[in-house]
Symmetry: C2
Subunit: 203 residues, 2 copies
C-alpha cells in the first residue's frame, strides 16, 4: 500500500518532482501568460530541458492544462479550508478574501493575480482544456460554498434573507472581483485593504 514510491521505476529515474515542477510552472505562467511564455523559456526557468517536458507532460497546451488543473485543486482546498474555519459567515468570508489576497500577491513587489482568472481565462476561447477546468472549478466552488453555508452558517444565512446559493454566488463574485484587481500589480498591503473592503459586503 505504501510501496508506490518503491515501485522501482524501470528506467532512468526522473531528475525532478512532478508536483514541484507544476507549482513552479504555475508561477511562470502567471507572470508571463500562456502564449507569451515560450516552452523553451519555461523549461529553462524550471531548470530542465524541453524534451523532458514533452516526455513528462506532452506539448505546451497539455502542460499548461496540467498546471492550471493542479492550481484549481489547490485553490479549492485552500479556499474551503479558510471558509469552514469557524466564526460567523461574515468572518469566514473575510478570512477567505484575505487569504486569497495573500495568494494573489507577493510579500513585496507587484501582484500577479490568480492563475485561473489571470491567464487561464483568456485562453478559454481557444483551448477547451482550460475552459473545462475553469467551468468545473467555478461550479464546484460554488456548490461547496453553498453546502458550507447551508450547513455551518445556516443561522447567519437566514438572517440575511438570502438563499445559501445566493450567498455562495456573492462570495465567488467577490473572489473573482478581487482576482481581477490583483492582476493590476497592486502591493500586498493595498490588495489586503481591498479584500477587507469587499468582505464588508458579505451578507
Amino acid at each position: 500500500m505504501a510501496d508506490k514510491t518503491v515501485k522501482a521505476a524501470r528506467g532512468r529515474p526522473r531528475a525532478f518532482d512532478e508536483g514541484t515542477v507544476l507549482r513552479r510552472a504555475q508561477q511562470l505562467f502567471l507572470e508571463q501568460g500562456f502564449e507569451a511564455a515560450s516552452y523553451d523559456e519555461v523549461a529553462g526557468g524550471l531548470g530542465l530541458s524541453k524534451p523532458s517536458l514533452y516526455n513528462a507532460f506532452g506539448d505546451k497546451a497539455a502542460f499548461f492544462e496540467r498546471a492550471i488543473a493542479d492550481y484549481a485543486h489547490g485553490a479549492h482546498a485552500q479556499i474551503m479550508a479558510e471558509f469552514t474555519g469557524g466564526g460567523s459567515l461574515r468572518e469566514a468570508g473575510r478570512r477567505l478574501l484575505l487569504a486569497a489576497a495573500d495568494v494573489y500577491s507577493k510579500p513585496e513587489g507587484p501582484s500577479t493575480g490568480c492563475l485561473l482568472v489571470g491567464t487561464a481565462l483568456p485562453a478559454c476561447v481557444a483551448l477547451e482544456g482550460p475552459r473545462h477546468t475553469l467551468s468545473e472549478f467555478i461550479a464546484t466552488l460554488e456548490a461547496s460554498l453553498e453546502a458550507a453555508i447551508d450547513g455551518r452558517y445556516a443561522k447567519d444565512a437566514a438572517r440575511t434573507g438570502k438563499t445559501p446559493r445566493a450567498l455562495a454566488l456573492q462570495l465567488s463574485s467577490l473572489l473573482f472581483s478581487l482576482a481581477v484587481r490583483a492582476r493590476m500589480g497592486l502591493s500586498r498591503r493595498k490588495l489586503r485593504a481591498i479584500a477587507a473592503e469587499l468582505a464588508e459586503l458579505v451578507g
Copy 2:
C-alpha cells in the same frame, strides 16, 4: 469649427475609418487574444495591409492599447447610461448587468466575454498600457457609480445601510464576476440568467 473633415489632408487619403477599424479590431482581439492574434491576421481580418496598421496605429502593442482604450470609453458610457436610466437602485443594477450580458455575448454561439477582463487583464503584467487603461477604467467606473448612487439613489442606498462607495464596489464586483463567467462560452440566454441572479444581490 466643423471643418475638421474638410481639413484637406495633404497626401493620399486613408481607405478606412479609424473608429470602424478599432471596433472590428476589438472583436478580433476578443476572439483570439492579444498574443495569439498575429498582426498579419488582424490586418487581413480588417481588410487592410499590415503597413497601413503600422502607419496609422504603430506596432501591435500600440494598436491593442488603442483598441482597449476605445472599448473602455464606450463601456463606461454604456454602463452609466444604463445605470442612470431611472427606477430603483436594484432595477438600475439589474439593467446594468443585463446590458453587460448582452455586450459579453452574441445573439447565438458561445460568448467571448469582455475585452478588458478577457484579454487586456492577462496582458497587464507585461504591458503597461493595458494595465494603466484598466486601472483607470475601474477607478473611474467606481467613482461614477458612487456619484450616481449618492445622487439619484441616495434613498435606496440609505435603506441598505451601506455607503455609496460600498454599493459601487459591489456593483463593479458583480460586473467583473459576470465578465469572468461570460468568457467560458455560455449562450446569451444562460448568461442573462446569471446576470439576473447576480442582480438579486444588489443592495
